[in-house]
């Protein structure tokens, strides 16, 4: 089998490109090194759909972010991705921050985000009565939204697969070669993939893949961001996404509601050599708590539901590292930093245009199928609330994860979806099961029994117990 396009990397960017290409009469394969979509950088971020108000004007990132924001907002509504347009408030706590607000507003307007405005201290407290003392003013960005980081890449990949894209998981690319007939061979552990065009969307490893193609435009540094997720009972304390005002001295942390109804505090920023170091640290969490206490003192009285760390794919360059190599029929999509989720659809659209320009024939399919993802967001109706769904199938009335109110029906669906859950983590990202305040105190034993039954894998295998 010869593919027209092979995409390396099933994160939010690679999946978005796969979905975009699925609209055309093409044979496409999406290669993911891990066992599931969106399992690396894409799953651990701040889950915000950014307008791009503060992007650097003239950068490719700014353009694709702006475009991606509009595309994803509309796509999310159609495909069932939880999105809540809460708006953001940048809070100025000191003179330097306050003085930088006009410049931030002007940049936003230059970037086409024209509804951004400076608001008074009184207005900030009116909108956010639980903020700590000492607010000097704020900048309101009405378009900033929260989004489900789990559903987004899954929706892209699901729609791609529904329209004929082959998804190959557990498929790390180990070597590449250009054959005599001009085709690429991508060498995987158990097979070789042959393709005319290759897209490198390998995230943290996009530099490694790029070097396999003989290029060295950038190096990816893993920038760790630690985050703390607070109990749902803290949700009434926050109405907007509370963003820090970036200054030369500090970047600050944000406090944001999540689409699951929690409140998130973070992230830290720490450059690391290890691209697998997703552990949290005592220092990181202490620093977050200290900053959180100033911004929203009452938040710290609430229980912590989860802590985690994600790695952003930062490079030595300020802008995205998108490089087209027409002679190789190879496009590198690297250095997508922390804006990949928001920009993903803009990037995908741009990449497909580039593919067209370097010779890929793009003929729209007549039968491109739409999809609708199961809703896991708090702001939209869920199965446990639906008399209709429960009457049709009683398993939607059987709540098995109490904290997140996930029903047996939803768990079953996750095992029988187009891209089924294959482990506990995959199930969490599809249903929220075990993501809640008890972290499995009540439901983990029952959930693992279902997981074992549905995947045919033993508990030892699923939990990595050595024989």
């Amino acid at each position: 089998m010869i593919y027209d396009v092979a995409i390396i990397g099933g994160g939010v960017v690679g999946s978005a490109i796969a979905r975009e290409l699925a609209q055309y009469e093409l044979q496409v394969v999406l290669l993911e090194a891990q066992n599931d979509i969106g399992k690396s950088t894409s799953k651990a971020n701040t889950a915000i759909l950014h307008t791009g108000f503060d992007a650097k004007p003239g950068y490719l990132e700014q353009r694709l972010l702006r475009r991606g924001y509009e595309l994803l907002r509309d796509y999310g509504a159609a495909a069932g991705i939880p999105i809540e347009p809460l708006g953001a408030l940048l809070i100025a706590w000191d003179g330097a921050q306050y003085e930088s607000l006009p410049k931030l507003r002007d940049t936003a307007h230059e970037n086409g985000v024209t509804d951004v405005e400076i608001v008074s201290t009184e207005e900030v407290y009116r909108r956010e009565p639980y903020l700590g003392q000492g607010v000097l003013g704020g900048l309101l960005v009405p378009g900033e939204s929260i989004i489900c980081p789990f559903t987004t890449p899954l929706a892209f990949a699901t729609q791609a697969v529904a329209n004929g894209v082959h998804l190959s998981v557990n498929s790390p690319v180990q070597a590449v070669q250009m054959d005599e007939d001009g085709l690429h061979s991508l060498i995987l552990p158990n097979k070789t993939i042959r393709a005319r065009y290759v897209i490198n969307a390998a995230g943290l490893y996009s530099d490694t893949i790029n070097r396999l193609f003989g290029h060295d435009e950038f190096t990816v540094t893993a920038r760790r961001g630690e985050l703390i997720v607070f109990d749902k009972l803290s949700r009434p304390l926050v109405n907007h996404i509370l963003l820090p005002v970036p200054t030369k001295i500090t970047k600050g942390v944000l406090i944001s509601p999540t689409v699951f109804g929690n409140v998130m505090l973070g992230p830290t920023a720490e450059d690391l050599d290890d691209k697998t170091a997703t552990g949290t640290t005592a220092q990181g969490m202490a620093a977050l708590m200290q900053q959180g206490k100033r911004i929203l003192p009452e938040l710290l009285a609430e229980e912590v539901t989860a802590t985690y760390a994600g790695l952003r794919a930062a490079t030595e360059h300020g802008d995205y590292q998108i490089h087209v190599h027409p002679e190789q029929r190879y496009i590198c999509v690297g250095g997508i930093r922390s804006t990949g989720l928001s920009a993903s659809m803009g990037i995908a659209e741009y990449i497909v245009t580039q593919l067209g320009e370097v010779g890929l024939k793009l003929i729209l399919r007549a039968d491109f199928k739409a999809i609708r993802m199961p809703n896991i967001g708090e702001a939209f109706p869920r199965p446990y609330q639906s008399e209709t769904m429960i009457t049709r199938d009683s398993s939607y009335g059987q709540v098995i994860c109490f904290c997140e109110r996930v029903t047996l029906g939803e768990v079953r669906d996750a095992f029988h979806s187009r891209i089924p859950a294959c482990d506990s983590d995959g199930l969490r990202r599809r249903t929220r099961a075990q993501l809640g305040r008890c972290q499995g105190f009540y439901c983990s034993a029952a959930v693992m029994a279902l997981l074992s039954e549905e995947t045919g894998q033993s508990i030892e295998k699923l939990t990595g117990v050595q024989a």
Partner: protein, 414 residues
């Protein structure tokens, strides 16, 4: 659909079922208990060791036997129990909406008893840093893995905590065939009874590492070890293990109480109750380990019996608690007390005691109860240990002469 029982009890654990039985025996017609689990009985269902029932049934049973007995008693008493029934929201002061496999069910009652129990704080809530591999449990999860689902757990375990429940975790791990490498507590000593320590840890030579905290969890896919630190010197070392169990450090399951805008008692994180276990909302009561996380199951059951009397009285008289209740204040050595406020004319407390937890370990100390300038009660203690219940007898109520606040102080014994 709507059901209209006289009393709705939320939670079919020891306290909920005991309350239900007592209500039926007092002649209350329709008593409905709902539980989100698929089996009634509560946490004792998966505590597969002995020691249950001493103070309420006056004999000693295993957890599962105790749970079964409670369910049978309730059924025999004519209590209606709905399992797989999860309360999702309040509908008015004494009504709720539930989700069950047969549909969405609204329940409107004359009175509601919250008996939702408590849970252990998981690793994340304790902010233990490090990786997030498989192999991390709470005792509750562990016992369900081992006794309800018979899942394999791991090979070598480290236990965080040294309370009653921590020794229960050792027994569960030994039952499942694991080696227990160590038990850690950041306090200077364990917080249980010597007998539990002997039965639960010493016979398997499980070392108890005091003044020690877990400073990181290691491993990518599966736990590969833990880093532990001496709380005094900061000295760190690595223990090789594939399983970590976080035990104790209880928190009331208070989400329903809070979402109903009940006044909360912030030190205990329980709904604030008076001496008759009445909350701030007329018609809504609370009982069991929602109010004292975690006392033993028999005390939870006795709390259920006690609340039943209070409910019956309310159904007959419609009298709710006064607005001028006597608050109980305490110094920083006390972590919390339960109940939280006192109705001036009451002469008794649930189980005839005020349940108290200290915040810090204390030696040779005296607990004193004061009101204004009058000392109502005092007792010397050789040792007071956090997490271990201290029960102050309710006889001090009879000494009260005014409606001033009650003050509890702890001072070094002379």
């Amino acid at each position: 659909m709507t059901q209209q029982p006289d009393v709705l009890i939320i939670g079919a654990g020891p306290s909920g079922l005991a309350a239900a039985v007592a209500l039926r025996r007092s002649g209350v017609e329709r008593v409905l208990v709902v539980d989100r689990e698929s089996q009634a009985g509560g946490v004792p269902r998966h505590c597969n060791h002995t020691g249950f029932g001493l103070r309420d049934v006056r004999r000693v049973l295993t957890g599962p036997d105790y749970a079964r007995r409670n369910v049978q008693l309730a059924e025999a008493a004519g209590v209606e129990i709905l399992t797989n029934t999860m309360v999702t929201e309040w509908r008015g002061a004494t009504g709720v909406r539930t989700t069950r496999p047969s549909g969405v069910l609204d329940i409107q009652a004359a009175a509601i008893v919250l008996a939702t129990g408590c849970r252990e704080r998981p690793r994340s809530a304790r902010l233990v840093p490090g990786a997030r591999p498989a192999g991390i449990f709470t005792t509750g999860a562990l016992q369900q893995w081992v006794y309800l689902q018979r899942h394999p757990v791991g090979k070598r375990a480290v236990i965080v905590g040294a309370e009653h429940v921590s020794f229960s975790a050792v027994m569960t791990l030994k039952h499942a065939g694991l080696d227990v490498i160590a038990m850690l507590t950041d306090l200077p000593r364990h917080q249980s009874f010597l007998a539990y320590k002997l039965i639960g840890a010493d016979r398997w030579r499980v070392p108890l590492l005091t003044n020690t905290r877990m400073s990181a969890i290691l491993g990518k896919q599966r736990v590969e070890g833990v880093e532990i630190a001496d709380v005094n010197t900061g000295a760190k070392r690595i223990l090789d293990c594939d399983t970590v169990v976080f035990t104790g450090d209880w928190i009331p399951d208070h989400e329903l109480a809070r979402s109903g805008n009940l006044t909360m008692d912030s030190p205990s994180r329980s709904p604030q109750v008076d001496s008759l276990l009445r909350t701030s909302v007329p018609g809504v009561f609370a009982a069991g380990n929602l109010l004292h996380a975690a006392d033993t199951a028999d005390l939870a059951a006795l709390s259920g019996r006690y609340v039943a009397e209070s409910v019956v009285n309310y159904l007959q008289t419609q009298i709710w608690r006064d607005t001028d209740l006597i608050p109980i204040t305490f110094d920083s050595a006390v972590r919390w007390v339960s109940p939280h406020v006192i109705q001036p004319d009451n002469e008794a407390l649930p189980n005839h005691h005020l349940s108290l937890r200290v915040a810090v370990p204390l030696e040779k100390s005296t607990i004193e109860i004061w009101q204004g300038k009058q000392r109502l009660w005092a007792r010397r203690y050789r040792r007071l240990t956090p997490n271990l219940p201290v029960y102050l007898p309710d006889t001090f109520l009879k000494e009260m002469r005014t409606a001033e606040a009650i003050r509890i102080i702890i001072r070094p014994s002379i």
